[in-house]
Symmetry: C2
Subunit: 259 residues, 2 copies
DNA sequence: AGTGGAATCGAACACTGTACGAGTCGAACG
DNA sequence: CGTTCGACTCGTACAGTGTTCGATTCCACT
């Protein structure tokens, strides 16, 4: 374990004493390009053009395109905030964090595609995680449960926002409004439901619901369930006074995997 | 709304009366290539080589690379199964589905990167969703709540599995074992925690926990919370007898977004 | 035998990430 | 002041990408 494990975060950024390119500027412009035109539109040449410099000049400040993406991703993590635990209940803090995270993801749709590829180990990501963990510490969770709770919350938000983003991308690609798209897609589910006649009636109703508000309700539904579940566990732990922390040598999950 | 909204699923596959290439074969081989070497390794030329045919021949059976990805994605959805609602409790059904979904995602790590890009509207995806919805119908949920519950569950599993996959990818890229990688990454979190001295002690403990079992416990933790939350809502609805279904004209989420 | 569609494929185009080496610039030094 | 050296920029080039297009092969059926 001698060597430090090379990464953007271990390496120093280039000294910025010249008025030319700059890591911060590169990251900023890359984010702007990503927001405006999506992940596929970000190429080193286009980014260079936007910066008014040659494409390969970027490689002096950043080793890779992947490394650049690590930087922009962590920049987005920096946009996420957690309320101070002293000012609110843990539940409000967690809930408002969830809503703000959803908002940030929706305004940077490309982020969802990165978190599956790029490791989230930048300073902002780590800092955010510790703040969220502090919230659950304040709530009464102990040991690793704090981390489990935090990562569960983030997992839910990321997961539930994913189809929402893919939906919006599809709307942009087709130029359809959300309810139009819903109607246009309906033949597909009808065809599948053809084999199961008891479903067609149910699916017929779906054409009528407003997709946007359904998505919002869906988000709130799952979030409430999750917070309720966390709260229940908290109360349970309060009655049973010996919440033994995770044993590293324990066997894998109690419910065996099915494969 | 005249035109049908063109997609792989609306178009008929090429008639397969010749012994040459075949949509099914292409999809199968593409999946194998993806499993073996990851998303970046899938190029039309390499896939063609694997099929013993020219790269561009594939375009006779499939319009796009994107369309091909839609097909392979839906094929993976086909691997997911839901227990028959008659045979178990809804909770066991949901729980075992979650575990099997996690297993499938871990064995096809590239899937996570697709669900953010490719819409999940294939027949297998829809069929799976209806089966899951049936589980929650059996549980006692009514109206759109069934869909909310189902999509919440899937969102959680996808979301919580994402960092796990990115972790494994990182392990493969660096060739480190999971605990070695944990130790190698530790300097990063230490540097961030340097400004907050109360955290260093806590983070020091982290180097000792076994990452794999922590991940498994994390999964189980969040899943239990979620199912508990769902169950609580179910009981609440049972006491209050008028669970009015979602009103399309309702205002956006009760808790306003923070942006 | 001949015709017509199904299917395959090679060449070409515009584009990608990035290695390399030549070039520019500004400051420090003799 | 001239030189040198590092920081920095960038043009060129290479291997690879998805996809189009037109030519070609192949086979079933008249």
């Amino acid at each position: 374990m001698k060597q430090h494990f090379s990464s953007v975060w271990t390496r120093e950024p280039r000294t910025a004493k010249s008025p030319g390119l700059d890591r911060a500027q590169i990251v900023r412009e890359a984010t702007a390009l990503l927001d405006a035109e999506g992940l596929d539109a970000l190429s080193m040449r286009r980014l260079g053009a936007r910066l008014g410099s040659g494409a390969t000049s970027i490689y002096w400040h950043v080793a890779n395109k992947d490394e650049l993406l690590e930087l922009v991703l962590d920049e987005v993590y920096g946009e996420l905030t957690v309320l101070d635990v002293q000012e609110t209940t843990w539940r409000d803090s967690a809930s408002s964090f969830a809503y703000s995270m959803r908002q940030v993801l929706l305004s940077h749709p490309w982020v969802i595609n990165l978190i599956g590829t790029i490791p989230s180990i930048g300073p902002n990501a780590i800092l955010l995680m510790t703040r969220l963990v502090a919230t659950f510490d304040h709530a009464g969770f102990r040991g690793l449960d704090q981390d489990y709770a935090a990562s569960t919350l983030m997992a839910y938000v990321a997961g539930v926002t994913t189809p929402e983003i893919s939906w919006r991308t599809m709307m942009e690609r087709t130029g359809l409004g959300s309810n139009e798209l819903n109607a246009a897609l309906h033949p597909l589910v009808e065809e599948v439901a053809a084999g199961h006649p008891e479903l067609t009636a149910r699916y017929a109703e779906f054409r009528e619901v407003d997709v946007e508000t359904a998505r919002a309700l869906n988000f709130e539904f799952g979030l409430t369930c999750l917070l309720d579940g966390l709260e229940a566990r908290l109360n349970r732990a309060a009655s049973a006074p010996a919440p033994v922390s995770a044993d590293p040598g324990a066997t894998p999950p109690p419910r065996p995997s099915l494969h």
